[in-house]
């Protein structure tokens, strides 16, 4: 039987910075009791609702757990439950759109990472590069429209801020072991507005406990490029 000391949430994922990062940030910012589980893989695959991770388990005191999967879905659920997505439907959609766009960019990144032939790799990289440029453009436009105050919308940490931060972190910090040059590809493209947002997210008091356990993305993106040293 769940007690007040038991976690309210269990997030199951691999022990790495990947598509669950947004959920980790949201759980931390929500200031709920939560733990991470890193199931043996692929042994535990059949035991997940859709054979995939991440999975979110919400524990209830009467032992009826609420279990959901799909990274974007988990993020939106937590963001709505804890007030990081506005209740206005249109404002919510504008924020969700940014997440889906970042996710498109990440899918394109993966395509160029896993491409087998040199020709495919070049073609897929061009698609990723173009999409990244476009994403930076739309994010920067929104930040400017919001007064360049370190937030995409309003003046508080929002779902949009968190997922925007998360996707850059996945690529620039999480994936660097698989593609060493990705930092030098992404970093120069980040506008001052995006760097300000990334810095502001990390400095937000709601994420202070998250930052004690996680590498800094801001440190990577504000480092001088090797060409300038």
């Amino acid at each position: 039987m769940a007690t007040s000391k038991d976690p309210q949430y269990i997030l199951r994922y691999f022990d790495r910075i990947g598509v669950a990062e947004g959920s980790k940030l949201l759980l931390s910012a929500a200031n709920v009791e939560w733990i991470e589980e890193h199931p043996e893989w692929p042994q535990e695959k059949p035991n997940q609702p859709f054979g995939r991770m991440p999975v979110l388990i919400e524990k209830h005191v009467d032992d009826t757990d609420f279990v959901i999967c799909e990274s974007g879905n988990i993020e939106r659920y937590l963001a709505r439950a804890y007030g990081f997505i506005p209740s206005d439907i249109r404002q919510a959609a504008f924020q969700e759109q940014l997440r889906d766009q970042a996710s498109d960019m990440f899918a394109a990144f993966i395509s160029q990472l896993v491409a087998k032939s040199e020709e495919d790799r070049r073609e897929n990289f061009a698609k990723f590069d173009g999409l990244l440029d476009k994403l930076v453009e739309v994010q920067t436009k929104q930040i400017n429209a919001n007064g360049n105050n370190g937030h995409l919308f309003g003046d508080k940490l929002s779902y949009a801020d968190i997922v925007t931060y998360a996707f850059y972190k996945i690529i620039v910090v999480g994936m660097v072991k698989r593609q060493a040059n990705i930092v030098d590809i992404v970093r120069p493209k980040l506008t001052p507005q995006l760097i300000k947002l990334i810095t502001a997210v990390e400095a937000n008091p709601l994420l202070s406990s998250y930052m004690t356990r996680s590498d800094s993305l801001a440190a990577v993106v504000t480092k001088p490029t090797s060409a300038r040293l």
């Binding site: 054979g51 439907i89 759109q97 994403l135």
Partner: protein, 224 residues
Amino acid sequence: MLSGSDTVYVLRYFDVIGRAEGCRLLLTAANASWTEEHPEWPAEKANQPFERLPVLVERSNGNEWILCESLTIERYLARVFGFMPTDLKQAALQEQMADQQADLLSAFFAQLTATGDMKPKQIDEFNTLFDRMVKEHGRILSRSSSKQHLFGDHLSYADISLYAFYKLFIVYLKCYQSDIAEIVKSKLTPKIINLILSIEKEPQLAPHFSKCDTMAAIFTAKDF
């Protein structure tokens, strides 16, 4: 219903089923004032907010709002027109299904474009995932009080999303892979086929079928 009676929508997409069918079905089921635009492509690419389609344009009281990303548009329309539950957990269960379906589309293209020794692996992954999706649809249906709806006893976002998903795989994707419709049909259970056909008969969706065929003719007595 949260949309004013003077609100009009424009759905911009290619003139294909593709990734816009859920949006079309939602606008139809909502009895919204809407039209479709098929922008010249790639000439109009640079004029779209993210250089991609679909795009939803909403016009009301002299204002214009633009939204892109197919699933964001679907969830937005579903909420505006009352097809998404207001309960967060119930909404998450419906959105989860739609996201899983989107994973299937990605897996389809991954196995289509895979080469060498990755090809059989990706085909296997796609088939496993599709079987799991059908099982998941069956599981949701078995917990529903109605056999004609996935959740509750009214047409919901999940019903519309499921219908668009199967239409995509059975009617549309053969333009990429000629045998995909037969592969998918062989995986369907009679209960799922019945659900697809029940959704198709929803009166709210009737106007949709003035512009395209139903799937009823595709399933024969052998499938039941």
